[in-house]
Symmetry: C2
Subunit: 261 residues, 2 copies
């Protein structure tokens, strides 16, 4: 039976990465688009419970119809999975994000947390992000990333995903014929160089930018960062159980167990 | 040397849980308070980079001084750790949250993601949350939870925490003398019963509430949910590496590796 694929993103419904992804997903099934009406990048995993959400119909650049909500990417997934569309959603694909989501980015990223939200609802979730090249183009070509996403989603449709697992796909910025293939990876590391930038406004009051240099990616082999550095598409399975099992046994030596310690 | 403890929360700087926590933490070191100026519950892991942040001095109910920012809980941690205070921050403690943060809550929770943010900056982070009893009190007593937090933070100061690990502490709503002690736990499960609630506004336009019944906690032994159900304080070590290592090896059988598959 044809799969019903919900496509969302965190750059907003008019982002070109969303359209490229939707176009590729249409080759795999019926696509519904429900995405934020504005950019939510770095907005984290949100569940909007304190206000109602609006949804409006939007015409996309290729003439197709999408729906835009005033909620976060994860809210769009909730709306979609809980019944905004008549048909059951079989799969959620989020992206193509403008910028890679590597290492610690995964808990901040609206793209990745949208896929998390799907998995919490027992629907397979796949996040897709495209590296921004160093010479920062005005108009990026999202098609090679969307095609890579199609290859991954095809496998997910064929093989399924274990419950509680989402896929975080990152694509290096290369023409399709220069992509090296796919690597299954673990979450890597980026070292942050945050710095607080204190300024004073025209009325003499201070304000603060979270500033500093861009994080340094550690291109270790086997990681998402390493795969991109070598020109591979990185596919990282992520789980929603964050328990640090190794530490768990150590903590039992802390003698915190006794009553009223 | 005396530890410098940053206390933050996601319920906002005037929340009574924050004050109870700060008062207990003062028994362990020098406390600075930097918390959101409003409620950020369910706001997820946020890094505010697209606007500057303001910080204002606030007088708390016990006459002490705190600082309120217009950013998310994780932004407050960034501000504090990156140098808003003259002294280096040694430890971040977030809470006491109004409501437990169990199971999948951890990636949505401002309380927990504040502790995550600390760990990303290589500072130990501890999140503390208090269960809301079923008979929902108007004024909750946060002191037993704050005292439990003190016992945990004392051990963290004595023993340290491995890098990349935060602690998620949840306290059942019981008087101090009825708390059963502490259990080291893994992240449990709550089953969500989300439902979309479509309504029509006075102008005939639809709007949508993410509704449904409260999630059903599965009180499995060994989990955070199970510990609370038995009257224990739950201490769950969480890691920032979300890689699903078991799935990773399975994915290598997907034959996605070859070039241009």
């Amino acid at each position: 039976m044809e799969k019903h694929i919900l496509v969302t993103n965190d750059d907003g419904i008019l982002a070109p990465g969303l359209l490229a992804l939707a176009q590729e997903m249409r080759k795999l099934g019926k696509v519904s688009i429900l995405a934020p009406d504005r950019n939510w990048s770095g907005g984290g995993h949100v569940k909007t419970l304190d206000r109602a959400l609006r949804v409006k119909e939007v015409r996309l650049a290729d003439g197709s119809t999408g729906f835009a909500s005033d909620g976060a990417p994860s809210d769009c997934v909730s709306l979609g999975v809980l019944g905004y569309f008549k048909e059951k959603v079989d799969l959620v694909v989020s992206g193509v994000n403008h910028g890679a989501n590597l290492g610690h980015d995964v808990t901040y990223s609206g793209t990745v947390t949208a896929a998390m939200e799907a998995v919490i609802f027992d629907v397979p979730g796949i996040a897709v992000s495209l590296e921004i090249p160093e010479d920062h183009l005005d108009e990026m070509d999202y098609r090679p990333a969307a095609e890579a996403a199609r290859a991954v989603v095809e496998r997910v449709i064929a093989n399924g995903l274990p419950p509680d697992i989402l896929l975080n796909v990152n694509v290096p910025y290369l023409p399709a014929d220069r992509l090296m293939g796919f690597l299954m990876t673990r979450q890597g590391l980026r070292v942050y160089h945050g710095r607080l930038d204190e300024r004073v406004d025209p009325r003499g009051k201070p304000y603060y930018w979270i500033g500093g240099d861009a994080p340094t990616a550690i291109p270790e082999r086997g990681t998402d960062v390493g795969a991109l550095a070598e020109g591979y598409v990185s596919v990282t399975p992520l789980q929603l159980d964050l328990t640090a099992y190794r530490t768990l046994s150590d903590l039992n030596n802390w003698n915190l167990q006794e009553k009223n310690s």
